[in-house]
Amino acid sequence: MVSADAIRVDYGARRALDDTSLVVGAGEWHGILGPNGSGKSTLFRVLATLLKPTSGRFVVAGETDPARIRRRIGVVFQSQSLDQKLTVEQNMNAQGNLYGLSGSTLSGRITKLLWQFHLNGRESEPVQQLSGGLARRVEIAKALLHEPSVLLLDEPTTGLDPTARREWLQLLTDLRRERELTVLVTTHILDEAERCDRLTLLHEGRVVSGGTPADLKGQVSGDVVQFGTTEPARVAAQYPMYESRVGDGWVRFETPNGARFAAQAADALPGVIQTIAIQKPTLEDVFLRTTGTRL
């Protein structure tokens, strides 16, 4: 449903995306995972037809012409794209008109979507009076108004409080149950990434890994043990037999048995280790192992 082949984007001398390729199947929920500056928003802008790549080609819903692609995609931006001064209904009407919808078709779809996203009764409220979570719901309702086959979401939970973020994730789960929709979401949030069918990991403008969340986490074996310490290099050097990463004030090991290893290390290096955390590998560990940097 979405494919990008060797996309390169240069901003002057800086290369934002380099030889980036991905394939997203019909009905798949695909995440682009990477830290700020990894190029995921640039890739999003390319696929949303806002940015022409320096080279490479992409196909969305079988279309290559930007004007045709625009008919088939729904887009939710990281920043709010609603007119804050207008009411919910006025925003929805404007969006419908932009896609050639009017009359009873448009009003019928607006009513249905506002109901689906629990926004009924809010039609006449100016968007600037809505909470961040509610405004986000209006954004997604707006993006679905023309019944797109592909939905592009750019860091959709940025700026939301934890409650609104949980509501948003539930909303996406419900949406997935109700509609046959291909979704491409850029994110650096693990909760969001975990819910995707497949992920593409981006780092410094390049694809560094990809696969299902389970496959990716399978790349890190056993447990992950992180020590908080003032001498991370010394602790890492003490256990060269384990895969380790050293950061500012921390060192992280991949070990077959986290609890046993942590106890041994604490005994062997009294006073050097201040804190201990043991956990199963997360996507962050995968990213750290692949790139040497955190999300």
């Binding site: 949303a48 037809t49 806002l50 004007a67 045709r68 625009r70 008919r71 995609i73 887009v75 931006f77 920043s79 709010q80 794209s81 609603l82 007119d83 001064k85 207008l86 006025q90 009407n93 404007a94 969006q95 008109n97 932009l98 896609y99 050639g100 009017s102 100016p126 707006k142």
Partner: protein, 237 residues
């Protein structure tokens, strides 16, 4: 893809936003009226400055309507417009027509003060002035659109506007007769679309010698709007 429906969506949005910000109405109408009364009284000639106050009203309104374009394009409503299948020309058309009608209506409001002057006030004259103000509004919104689309900050927009439009208005004949000035000023005004806009208004309100012909003014304004429209439609990406 339908051309008029997306354009109408953007025009209607301009009206809805304007209605929601009534302080904007007061600001754009009262300041030119104050300018007219203060400067006109200072020179002892309220009639002469009336046409200048009308074009100033339209200019301020057009400029400020287009300023929102800069932030909207970077992050906001306009991003969702740009990923829609709406034809680019209809985006320009809708935005400019909406802003031009608002600027025009404010100009008409100030025109009501003509009854406090000794200028022509018959219905035909007022209709002709209304037409001239509509052309002026279309010209200024188109020019402001082209400038705003190229810029990434409202500060830069202010700087360019102060460099282009404000001197253009001063050299339009609003404050002094440029044809009685230096040779370089006389030459410059021939290329100033605002000179033709102001002269057209004056031709209807107080025709006199030294002003360009009405037909020349209309042609100059139409050509300027046409050039601006082509530039604007091409820059809308």
């Amino acid at each position: 893809m339908n051309f008029l429906l997306p354009a109408w969506a953007l025009t209607r949005r301009e009206f809805l936003r304007f209605w929601g910000e009534r302080s904007r109405v007061a600001g754009f109408v009262i300041s030119p009226l104050l300018f007219w009364i203060v400067v006109g009284s200072g020179f002892g000639n309220l009639d002469y400055f009336f046409a200048g106050a009308l074009t100033m009203t339209v200019m301020f309104s057009a400029m400020f309507s287009m300023m929102s374009l800069i932030e909207d394009r970077r992050e906001g409503f306009l991003l969702s417009v740009l990923v829609s299948p709406a034809p680019r020309a209809s985006i320009f058309f809708g935005k400019v027509v909406g802003a031009a009608i608002l600027a025009w209506l404010q100009g008409l409001f100030v025109l009501c003060s003509v009854f406090f002057t000794t200028l022509r006030q018959d219905p035909v004259t007022l209709l002709c002035v209304a037409g001239a103000l509509l052309l002026t509004a279309l010209l200024l919104t188109t020019v402001s659109y082209v400038i705003a689309w190229k810029l990434s900050s409202t500060q830069a927009f202010h700087a360019v506007i102060n460099l282009l439009l404000v001197p253009g208005w001063m050299l339009s004949g609003a404050i002094f007769d440029p044809l009685l000035s230096f040779a370089w000023v006389r030459m410059l005004v021939q290329f100033n679309p605002l000179y033709y806009a102001h002269s057209l208004v004056r031709q209807f309100l107080s025709p006199g010698p030294g002003l360009p012909e009405i037909s020349n003014c209309v042609w100059a304004l139409a050509a300027s709007i046409g050039i601006g429209a082509v530039l604007a439609a091409r820059s809308t990406k």
